[in-house]
């Protein structure tokens, strides 16, 4: 299969998993859910629903960049730095209250772990 298409599919899959976790396991109605008109009546919220969708979306984001550049290794360093800055930055901006949401140091940790594992996987598996 074309690698770009594979990355695109993986990106979509990760995005959908994140959306699904938010829908089925998060008690609160989120801004985008309210905007789309999604209704849910979850009585209980689960703690993993606070970080797992974020991780899924981060991976989805990274796969999307892979789809654009052909491989993570081919993504310029400046874009990688910008990517990490945006990922961590959104959390920091939330902490400062400039963006809606709750900034959490644990989330930043999860982002770093996700980003590192993703980069390492591509370092191990060199493109042919």
């Amino acid at each position: 299969m074309n690698k770009r298409l594979l990355y695109l599919l993986l990106s979509t899959l990760c995005l959908l998993i994140g959306v699904g976790v938010y829908y089925f396991f998060k008690k609160d109605i989120l801004i985008y859910e309210s905007f789309i008109g999604i209704k849910k009546s979850n009585i209980q919220g689960y703690s993993f629903a606070n970080w797992l969708p974020d991780l899924c979306w981060e991976i989805s984001f990274l796969f999307m960049l892979c789809a654009i550049w052909g491989n993570w290794r081919l993504v310029p360093l400046s874009i990688k730095v910008a990517t990490l800055s945006v990922i961590v930055g959104t959390e920091l901006v939330q902490m400062l209250g400039w963006l809606p949401g709750t900034g959490d140091i644990k989330d930043i940790l999860v982002y770093f772990i996700g980003f590192s594992i993703f980069t390492l996987l591509f370092l191990i598996k060199r493109p042919k």
């Binding site: 974020d54 654009i68 550049w69 910008a82 945006v86 959104t90």
Partner: protein, 263 residues
């Protein structure tokens, strides 16, 4: 793909990502929404025409309308008020038609013997409602109350959503007041109504709406609106069907029954 297109697409993806993350936070409500209050039932009926008092030579012993025995919600305030108000307005309608009315009495035993003897007909109004909750979906969740693993104790909490379907008949019957022998019966079907409810409460007992009726205005208010519609419909039916020309002809049967029974 050219490099500048890749860079441009990368920035688009970064912007989309940032938007998604910021929109995945809990929805904030601008300002506190005004609390929904309980709607007070406003059951009103004005008879379409007014005849002079006693113009129809017929004395009617009136009992308060009651729900059929199978209707388990009869004691809820919304329904209880409905039958109480209806007793007064049926009385008013009968008087407006020119009948002389004795009552309304809460039940047959509440009427004095003289009331029964001096009346020509006994009017019974039964509201035969059927409240169907098949379309109200209940979702239960196990909540840990105490303990862990093997000693864990769980309670089930329920939420529900959907709609009720209210339908039924209005049963009107006229009897000889002393023997209660039926002379005239009419069962008129009522229009079916859908009652969409909104509930945010959590309940312990499956398919028990008592607490929701008492605690949630968003649950009980749609019932009030529907019952107000039914009120007018039922009184219009009663007005049309309790026609003096038809009822006057029944007086002779009362006499016949009394002669037979030697009253």
């Amino acid at each position: 793909m050219k490099n500048w297109i890749k860079i441009l697409l990368s920035f688009v993806v970064i912007i989309v990502y940032a938007t998604m993350v910021s929109s995945s936070s809990k929805k904030k409500y601008s300002g506190k929404p005004a609390p929904i209050t309980f709607k007070v039932s406003n059951y009103e009926y004005a008879p379409p025409t007014q005849s002079s008092v006693g113009s129809t030579d017929l004395k009617i012993l009136l009992l308060e309308p009651r729900f059929n025995e199978k209707f388990k919600y009869a004691d809820y305030r919304i329904f209880n008020d409905f039958s109480k108000f209806m007793a007064g307005d049926i009385n008013e309608s009968l008087t407006a038609k020119g009948y002389t009315v004795r009552g309304p009495f809460e039940n047959y035993e509440g009427a004095l013997y003289t009331d029964k003897v001096e009346s020509d007909l006994l009017l019974n109004v039964q509201i035969d409602f059927d409240l169907n909750d098949q379309n109200v979906i209940w979702n239960g969740t196990e909540i840990l109350v105490s303990g862990k693993r093997k000693t864990a104790v769980y309670n089930t909490q329920y939420k529900f959503s959907g709609f009720f379907v209210l339908s039924g008949k209005l049963n009107l019957s006229l009897s000889e007041p002393i023997t209660k022998e039926k002379i005239w019966v009419k069962n008129i079907p009522l229009k079916q109504r859908k009652i969409s409810i909104i509930s945010s409460g959590v309940y312990k007992n499956l398919r028990d709406y008592t607490a929701a009726f008492e605690a949630e205005p968003s649950f009980s208010n749609p019932f009030v609106t529907t019952m107000q519609d039914y009120y007018k419909e039922i009184l219009d039916i009663a007005w049309t069907n309790l026609d003096p020309n038809e009822l006057a002809s029944l007086k002779k049967y009362t006499k016949e029954i009394r002669e037979k029974k030697k009253y």
